[in-house]
Amino acid sequence: MWWNNVETKPGTGFPTRWEDQEKYKGGWKVENGELKLRSTSKTKTVTNIFHNPNMPTLDDYYEPWTYKYKDLFDSPESDDQPTARPISMVTGEEMDIEAGPNWDDDLAGSPIYAENDINLDGLSEEQRNQMFAIERLMMFYFPRICNHCVNPSCVASCPSGALYKRGEDGIVLLDQERCRAWRSCISACPYKKTYYNWNTGKSEKCILCFPRVETGQAPACFHSCVGRIRYLGVLLYDAELIEETAKRPDDELVDAQREMILNPFDENIIREAKKNGIADSTIEAAQKSPVYKFVKEWGIALPPHVEYRTLPMLFYVPPMLPVMSAQEGDAVRNINEEFFPDFEKARAPIKYLAKMFGGGNESHLRYVLKKQSAIRAYRRAETVGDIEKLDAEKALLEADCTPKEAEGIYQLTSLCTFEDRFVIPAAHREEAIEMMKDPLEHKQEAGFGFKEAPARGW
């Protein structure tokens, strides 16, 4: 159970080929103009309540293991060194390790795992061969937590109503007291980011470290990220547009989701937000939000697999993977005189990235990669000077970017501080609690955690 895992792409991920919704039946589909869950319906909830047919197996997650370390100390003297053999943490028996949490990294580019990446579907044979050719072989990391979707299919599928999206900050949570272990959410989540805990008999998921967020701190994985590539901020959106947005065709979904996100500087929107009880501090945070800049102002962050129609609220800046060298005869030569060659010839085909981040729409990926490339050229011209300033500015113009914007992106991606990366408004939990009970009474009870640890039964 990994609330937060990092996968290697191309690869089949965790659980194996989780992106294959033909098999796992996660997310939404549009049927007769209506949004329907792939995994379940009102009737299916009844007929399948004791047997959910689309569940990933233990083997698809991987069988957890440890090693018999004691053997290293206890083995009798012999000609060979003692070894610690792997044993299953499920059965306690010795086992062969066949899969792991990031098996694609352990076997990067292997003909079995990497080539079965479902995002490669639709690539030509030549493109596939190029991707896995020596010196062109490419990989990038794909960190995954719960996407805290705007239209979460896990919430929609739960027969017990244990899952909910918090109104105050949009964090999707799973009530450990209400969960009845039907495991509908596990099928319904297309990102396979809810997990069933066999020890407690409850499902679990990433909580976006809400106790930290409530106290103004970044979630632990955001805070500790050594690459400083995780940003957290407020986005205002129009909840009435959710259904309509989620019904749009695959290739329009990225744009539709962006349209749904509102401009926090717009006077009308500020007025409406206030009318709806959104605190001034939240609006202010939305104006400073790094996520708003990435997604809406600059348009360089894209939602993962938006075609599952859950409208994920995590956004990724797609990677640039230029080809710098190639094999010629026996030698590997630098084939690029330019530092920033044509990204159309990059190692990761645009089509592949578009399947992951664009709902199949390649124009978004072209836009993002072009902008990134132009900004790098611009900064190179600024700092090193081996690129003509005029050429760089021309590149910026072509990439729909101004020098000011380029500077902003450079600042936020390279020289950012904690305050830039995480703009977390006061949680106003008291207002949320007020709806249920007296906040002062709640305050006296808070801090003792669960009255009981999560356990089977009710």
């Binding site: 399948n48 047919p53 689309n54 079965n116």
Partner: protein, 280 residues
Amino acid sequence: MKNIFSINTIISITLFINVNSFLFSQSDPEEFFEKNCFSCHTIGGGRLTGPDLKDVEKRKDAAWLEKFILNPESVINSGDAYASKLLKEARGVVMPKVANLDQSMSRALLKFIREESSKEKSRFAGSTFADRPLTEEDYMIGNELFIGTKRLKNKGPSCISCHEIAGEGFLGGGLLGPDLTEAYGRLGGKKAIAAWLANPSSETMSPIYKKHPIDEDEVLPLVAFLKNKAEGKDIVSDAHDFNFMIFGFIGLALCLVLFDLAWGNRLRAVRKPMVKGELS
């Protein structure tokens, strides 16, 4: 909410009990005797399944009788000599504990029996409808009534729904009541059985047949049927146990096929077939 609910339940149960005892305190011993005792006992009419109760108090004292009436089985089990003798005379048929019989009613009953015994001819000297001889036609009708191809006139359930008899019926009879193959001899012959059927008084049967009694015209055919079976005539093969088992297996197989049709297309594995190159 929970507390309120349980209080409600208690109130309704108490009401129910009160109504019940109220109803029975109203009934007089004569009516009670007719409904509950007459199927096995006469007063001056000779033995049926149980002994003739005429002058019963001359045979045993009132205290003993009261104890026996209230709980026959415990007196028999206590090893009482007279009770054992009675059991033997009744061919091992234990007198059932009579529902809604309390101490005051048992005293009233004894008093009633005393009064009836002093009469020259009691109303309860035995029924007369069972006097005519049994015919072959009786047996045929009895057979139909027993296995239910012919419905009982007053819509009572057919015997086979609770009783087995000599392998009758494709899957045998019900197992709730005892096997009736030997019932004719056990209960003491034609007259006793007829009396029982006219007014079944065991704890299980009496509430069922009180509202839907077996008609007098139906009693003798059933007696004829029971008699023939007890004499070993028309014994059907004992294959119903086997039939039942085969039926069970077929049912199981059908259920499994149904389950497979409904859920056979489930997700079984992704990684293993992928590694083997069998991914569809």
